[in-house]
């Protein structure tokens, strides 16, 4: 009744890897997940694996499509050795650029709203911002964001592009200027590692410059809502009974989904801490959530290698 589709292990992949990277293609035609040294291209209807894209990173941790573009950024690397973001031309599914120079795995990758800036978080305690050339699809590093005392686990751009926000295992969230890479402020309210960040999407008529809400998920069993650009913590959502690892806003920005160690996905009202609905999506830890561009499907991935698709229209 909920449109659940379980895409479990296939015979071609006897050894499951934890699903940490999930992304819908901008046209909504495909769902990308990490496999073992490859990307799995899945059906958005039933989650089945249709094809693979070679990606020989020992660990693949995150993936993001360029909004309105053809680039797929895949983060990963070799733990404790090197980190890398591999940029694929999605039309050809070939690697177009490799962004390296990290001493540990790249843990998170995010584009800004226009797709011209790329943020990369790394377990080597740093993050970086890369800018796309005006005359090509190549990205050049413009800032290194140094200041976290632990692995940086998440990165996200504000919808107005003025700031980029990073979250870390050092329990802090830092807000940086995208103009000059300057640290603007640090939030130290979380009590444990901060694992995920998500900005509330703009509604159609909204002014991008208005203060935006950003949600953070933490090992401290809370999701907190912030206004990073004015330095305010708006709300603490405490209904989790275990660490939360993944966050995504609904397309209309009116609700937010979270998941984590409990294997449950919860949907909260974005303007209160009211729990709208929740369901069990795994018997293991859920690391990744992704929302289809039309906002109708929610994908989740867990440690056992299971990808689950949920038809959100059934919830209404």
């Amino acid at each position: 009744m909920f449109g659940l589709v379980n895409s479990n292990l296939t015979a071609a992949e006897p050894i499951a890897v934890p699903i940490t990277a999930l992304a819908f293609s901008p046209d909504g035609s495909a769902l990308i997940s990490n496999g073992s040294r490859r990307l799995d291209v899945r059906s958005v209807h039933d989650g089945s694996v249709n094809s693979h894209v070679a990606c020989d990173l020992p660990k693949i941790t995150a993936a993001a499509f360029q909004p309105h573009g053809d680039i797929l950024a895949v983060a990963g690397g070799e733990p404790s050795v090197r980190g890398e973001v591999r940029l694929f031309d999605w039309r050809t599914q070939k690697v177009s650029q490799r962004l390296t120079n990290q001493d540990d795995v790249a843990t998170s990758v995010a584009f800004n709203r226009s797709g011209t800036l790329l943020g990369v978080a790394s377990a080597d305690h740093s993050a970086s911002v890369w800018r796309m050339a005006t005359d090509s699809a190549n990205f050049t590093r413009i800032f290194t964001l140094a200041g976290h005392a632990g692995p940086v686990l998440a990165i996200a751009f504000s919808p107005a592009d003025r700031t980029v926000v990073t979250a870390s295992a050092d329990r802090s969230i830092k807000v940086w200027s995208t103009e000059d890479g300057r640290l603007l402020r640090t939030f130290n309210h979380h009590l444990e590692s901060v694992n995920a960040l998500a900005f509330r999407p703009l509604a159609a008529a909204e002014d991008p410059a208005s203060p935006r809400a950003c949600a953070s998920a933490s090992d401290d069993r809370t999701v907190r809502i912030w206004q990073p650009e004015i330095g305010r913590m708006v709300r603490i959502i405490r209904q989790h009974r275990a660490p939360a690892f993944a966050l995504v806003y609904a397309a209309d920005g009116r609700s937010v989904f979270s998941a984590g160690k409990e294997g449950r996905i919860r949907r909260f009202d974005a303007d209160s801490d009211t729990l709208l609905t929740e369901w069990s999506a795994s018997t293991d830890w859920i690391y990744a959530l992704a929302l289809s561009p039309d906002g109708m499907k929610l994908a989740s991935g867990d440690w056992s290698g299971t990808v689950l698709l949920r038809d959100l229209t059934m919830d209404k």
Partner: protein, 715 residues
């Protein structure tokens, strides 16, 4: 029972298992808790200096010595997106690459690639890194031989460790257990349980495996020559056990103390006072006999000074009058304890009254116990330390590394105090109040340490159940703890040291004796005065402190009396007594002795510099913790001694028309309860005779006596 190799029942990882079998043959994979974690523990990965530290190392945290297998499993396999293992390419797993130092690892090479442990961990990852059966764990370990009497030194033997599992099976875990010797100079233990003995005496080897602890005792006699005679007549439980152990250790005890030595010792121990001049002269002048000694003991046990000093000792144990207490409440509490000592109230009755007290602090005096801390966890730590001789503080954050206490044990014990509140000058028992488990955040129900949950009325004061369990005769720790404390006060060393650390891995020097004394104490109504009398009437107590022969090497087995530094109050009182000039304390009538002071906040520079117990924390040492240079300089130059030299006894002696020899003898008797030896007379008589000012010479003599080690120590 049949021993078998660790095993795991494969589950859903059938494909992976086929692959694993191709690589490793048919040997079954290891479950995490009983197979993999012990390997990591043995390799030192979860030691306190490595990933077992409170904040871990390098962003990777494990529970200390693997006390929390579930959390360790999650950190290894799940944390940070599963970065530490690679099930698709097991040898590429960060866990293996770091531990084998293929990658930089500050902890060094812990699992060599060609080693058995590496192969087992690799195989486990190949198998899918399963946790294994959740209902399989180690319930206990057995160390054999547990008692190791070695006839001579420079020998080596092996320990064997067997784990009992929850499914009833047993495993030989000798190679995986952790070993540590209490005394490396006597016995060193290797990683595989091989013990090399290079000294003489007794020590123990602590063994840890999978959250369980065990111990093996190692004993090497002090001589290769047998002691054939019985050390001393053994007509009581103390002399029987001490004597038997001395004989086994081939140690000859020192002889019986001289009368003066005994008289001074028993006076200081039982009353905190030196024998008076008249008492000393009478006792030394009378016939020496066991009966005379017994009479002295009985007289002292019946004295008000006995009540004073043992009230002080209980007050220090109970931390009466620390900085949290008000003056009126402290006075009421002190008076209540003094009443209990005066009427020789049974110790279990005293403790029950304390643990269940509530009400206004000035009228419900024993309720003052609950003012020493506000947090139920802190109260639990105090209660377990004071009444059970057990330190549980480690288990507040992690399982005790050398004992059996877990976080759950700790917080459930603390739950007994969750409803106690200190409001104004009253201790109240609330209808609500819980202690939450720090991991689950859920409230835990109260449970005795090491005990099972007792059915009870949920509305009743939880402390009633606690007090009943704690003081029950079936709880050996309760009686053993107070017996051990009293033993230490009288003998200078506990049968277990430290006295607040009774645990299986810190065994008593004489396990049967402490058990026997505790049993006797419980059987005879927890009678403290009877216990004290039993000890001080024993030959063991009454032998001299002068060591001789091989027993010079002994500081554990009571082959001679051990020196006891006088506590601050006793020392100050002794100085006042010898000099004849009392110390004056603000708010107390003249003649009040330091041992009679209530609380620990009466202003006294002398007591401060001598190191009195502040009552803010444990003062189990019994000696003078102040010590050091400040104390030494004060006694040499300060007012405590020098201000007393000019008057008092010196003036009295000089006013008497008596020969110098008599003056010298009197000062020796007053200070040391003995007459001067010929060489001491020879030293001082000419000095006094030749002195231009006699008073200065007598002062010098008194100063010298009061600054001597013989005076400062109860010996």
């Amino acid at each position: 029972m049949k021993l078998r190799a660790p095993r795991f029942r494969p589950g859903v990882f059938a494909v992976a298992c086929l692959w694993a079998n191709a690589l490793f043959g048919d040997e079954q994979a290891l479950p995490f808790r009983t197979g993999i974690l012990p390997l990591l523990t043995k390799a030192g990965c979860n030691a306190g200096a490595c990933h077992g530290a409170a904040t871990g190392q390098g962003g990777f945290k494990l529970s200390l010595f693997g006390y929390d297998p579930t959390e360790d499993y999650e950190r290894i396999t799940r944390e940070l997106g599963g970065r530490r293992i690679d099930r698709a390419a097991p040898t590429e797993s960060l866990l293996l690459r770091k531990a084998s130092r293929q990658l930089t690892h500050e902890g060094g090479r812990r699992l060599p690639r060609d080693g058995d442990a590496y192969e087992k961990v690799q195989r486990w990852i190949v198998e899918g890194a399963p946790f294994g059966p959740k209902d399989l764990w180690v319930t206990a370990i057995t160390v054999s031989p547990a008692e190791n009497f070695l006839p001579t030194t420079n020998t080596t033997f092996s320990l064997h460790v067997t784990a009992q599992l929850s499914d009833g099976s047993r495993e030989d875990v000798t190679s995986l257990a952790l070993y540590s010797s209490s005394n490396d100079a006597l016995a060193e233990v290797g990683k595989q349980g091989d013990v090399h003995v290079s000294g003489r005496g007794v020590t123990s080897v602590m063994v840890r495996y999978s959250g369980q602890v065990g111990v093996a005792r190692v004993m090497v006699p002090f001589s290769d020559e047998l002691v054939r005679e019985d050390p001393f007549p053994a007509d009581n439980i103390i002399d029987q056990h001490i004597g038997a152990e001395l004989k086994r250790l081939r140690l000859r005890p020192s002889p019986l103390s001289r009368d003066g030595e005994f008289l001074r010792r028993v006076h200081l121990d039982l009353t905190g006072r030196l024998p008076s001049l008249d008492t000393a002269r009478a006792f030394l002048g009378g016939p020496s006999s066991p009966a005379a000694r017994r009479q002295v003991i009985d007289d002292l046990l019946a004295s008000s000074e006995f009540v004073d000093v043992w009230t002080l000792r209980l007050a220090e144990l109970l931390l009466i009058g620390g900085k949290r207490a008000s003056d009126d409440a402290t006075r009421a509490y002190h008076s209540w304890v003094r009443e209990q000592v005066a009427r020789n109230a049974p110790y279990d009755e005293i403790v029950r009254a304390i643990l269940t007290a509530s009400g206004p602090l000035t009228t419900a005096a024993p309720a003052n116990f609950f003012t020493i801390a506000n947090d139920p966890r802190d109260l639990a730590e105090h209660a377990s330390r004071i009444f059970l001789g057990t330190q549980i503080a480690c288990a507040r954050c992690h399982a005790h590394p050398a004992d059996r206490w877990t976080q759950e044990d700790y917080h459930r014990f603390a739950a007994y105090f969750a409803r106690v509140s200190h409001e104004g000058d009253t201790i109240k028992i609330n209808a609500r109040g819980e202690v939450d488990h720090p991991k689950t955040g859920a409230p835990v129900s109260p449970r005795p340490l090491g005990g099972s949950t007792i059915s009870r009325d949920p509305g009743a004061d939880r402390r009633i159940e606690l007090a009943a369990w704690m003081t029950d005769a079936s709880n050996p720790l309760f009686a053993q703890t107070i017996v051990n404390r009293v033993w230490k006060l009288l003998m200078g060393r506990g049968l277990v040291e430290p006295v607040d650390d009774l645990r299986p891995t810190n065994p008593a020097t004489h396990p049967a004796l402490i058990a026997g004394l505790a049993g006797d104490f419980a059987t005879h109504g927890y009678d403290l005065r009877r216990l004290i009398r039993s000890i001080v009437t024993s030959r063991t107590y009454q032998i001299t402190s002068r060591s001789e022969g091989l027993n010079r090497l002994d500081d554990h087995f009571f082959s001679h009396a051990y020196l006891k530094e006088m506590p601050a109050a006793t020392f100050l009182d002794a100085v006042a007594q010898v000099t004849g000039i009392p110390e004056v304390f603000d708010g107390y009538p003249e003649g009040t002795r330091a041992v009679q002071l209530i609380g620990a906040r009466t202003p006294s520079y002398a007591l401060d510099v001598l190191g009195r117990c502040s009552r803010d924390g444990p003062c189990d040492g019994g000696g003078r913790p102040g010590g050091g240079l400040a104390q030494a300089l004060h006694l040499i130059n300060g007012g405590t001694l020098n201000a007393r030299l000019g008057g008092g006894i010196v003036a009295e002696l000089l006013a008497r028309d008596s020969p110098d020899r008599a003056r010298i003898e009197e000062l020796y008797l007053r200070a040391l309860t003995r007459r001067p030896a010929p060489d001491e007379f020879a030293e001082w008589e000419p000095r006094l005779a030749a002195a231009a000012r006699k008073s200065e010479a007598v002062e010098d003599l008194l100063w010298t006596l009061l600054n001597s080690r013989e005076f400062a120590f109860n010996h």
